[in-house]
């Protein structure tokens, strides 16, 4: 086996992840290989070195600060929810108004479309009717006026 393979085995050995057979082979190899012995010793030092580097503690006030930030965030979210609700209600109100207006307009158009055909004596056409009748010389203005008033 090469040193590379022995060293990979040593890496597992320091974690206690080797089989009894691998342990036996490694033990025999280390007895004769100073390079691998040095490697093993160095690896064993890495863990305490890393743990010594990580010695921070944030203290009891940390959790208080986290809770304060959470409350701030919740309050911000509540504000946004209120704004969103207001915006949604406004938009829905506008949409409802527009819908009502459109419905009324559609209803009026439909009523106009279903109305009976205008006769010669409808108000809008009275003056035209009068003019047409007057063009016939047999009728006087008095006849026409009488016809309109009678209607």
């Amino acid at each position: 086996m090469t040193h590379e393979i022995w060293k990979e085995l040593i890496s597992r050995h320091v974690d206690g992840e080797t089989t009894p057979e691998e342990e036996r082979q490694l033990h025999n190899h280390l007895a004769t290989c100073s390079e691998c012995r040095d490697f093993q010793e160095d690896l064993k030092q890495l863990r305490p070195a890393i743990r010594e580097a990580a010695v921070l503690d944030l203290g009891p006030s940390f959790v208080v600060t986290v809770n304060e930030r959470l409350r701030e965030e919740e309050s911000r979210i509540d504000s946004w929810i209120a704004v969103e609700r207001l915006a949604r209600n406004t938009v829905m109100g506008l949409a409802f108004t527009v819908a009502v207006v459109l419905a009324v307009m559609a209803s009026m158009r439909s009523r106009e479309a279903n109305a009976p055909e205008p006769t010669i004596l409808t108000a809008s056409n009275d003056s035209t009717a009068a003019r047409v009748l007057l063009e016939h010389e047999e009728l006087t203005k008095g006849d026409v006026l009488l016809a309109v008033v009678t209607k």
């Binding site: 890496s11 974690d15 743990r51 010594e52 921070l56 940390f62 959790v63 600060t65």
Partner: protein, 189 residues
């Protein structure tokens, strides 16, 4: 009370339950951030942000993984974002141009150290620098094993890789860190 029960209660809005989770994991999170970032600068803010995100994501926690594994992923993702932001800020700063751009982002401890702690601080900084020099993939696996003391199977679950990949990455990471710190660790009493 176990983590699961605390998470259930925290989900219903019980502040005391979430506070207990924070107390249980604040030290681990702080040191994960420290080892990953290599500096105390802004560390408390980052650790707070981790727990804010944890709180925000609690409804999505599915109880299939351990709570720590989940917190760890959130912590690492946040650190990666922060490292990216700091690099961009530094690249944009005039100081970067004046220094020729050769200073590292994460090499300034925020607090001064008493004289009798200088040596310890120097040693810590060497280890932190060594960790920073590793690729994120190797740094992660080493922190999970050497600092968090997680078994291979759990590391594989956290990182989403095979146990064989964990063994291989650990070996590479250790070899590289050992080569960087060889003189320092051999000089230890």
């Amino acid at each position: 009370m176990d983590d699961i029960e605390l998470i259930r209660r925290a989900r219903t809005g019980e502040e005391a339950a979430f506070s207990e989770l924070v107390r249980r994991y604040q030290r681990q999170v702080a040191n994960l951030v420290y080892l990953t970032m290599g500096t105390r600068d802004g560390l408390e803010d980052l650790a707070q942000e981790v727990f804010i995100r944890v709180h925000r994501s609690l409804p999505r926690f599915n109880f299939r993984s351990s709570f720590f594994s989940w917190v760890y992923r959130i912590t690492v993702n946040l650190c990666i974002d922060e490292i990216r932001k700091r690099k961009i800020r530094r690249a944009l700063s005039l100081e970067f141009l004046a220094d020729g751009g050769d200073q590292r982002v994460l090499d300034h401890p925020a607090h001064s150290t008493p004289a009798d702690d200088l040596l310890k601080e120097e040693r810590r900084q060497m280890v932190l620098d060594g960790l920073q020099a590793l690729s994120p993939m190797h740094r992660e696996v080493l922190i999970l094993r050497e600092y968090q003391d997680l078994p291979y199977e759990e590391i594989a679950r956290v990182l989403g890789v095979s146990v064989q990949a964990v063994k291989s990455r650990l070996f590479r990471a250790r070899t590289e860190l050992r080569n960087r710190l060889k003189d320092y660790i051999r000089g230890e009493p």
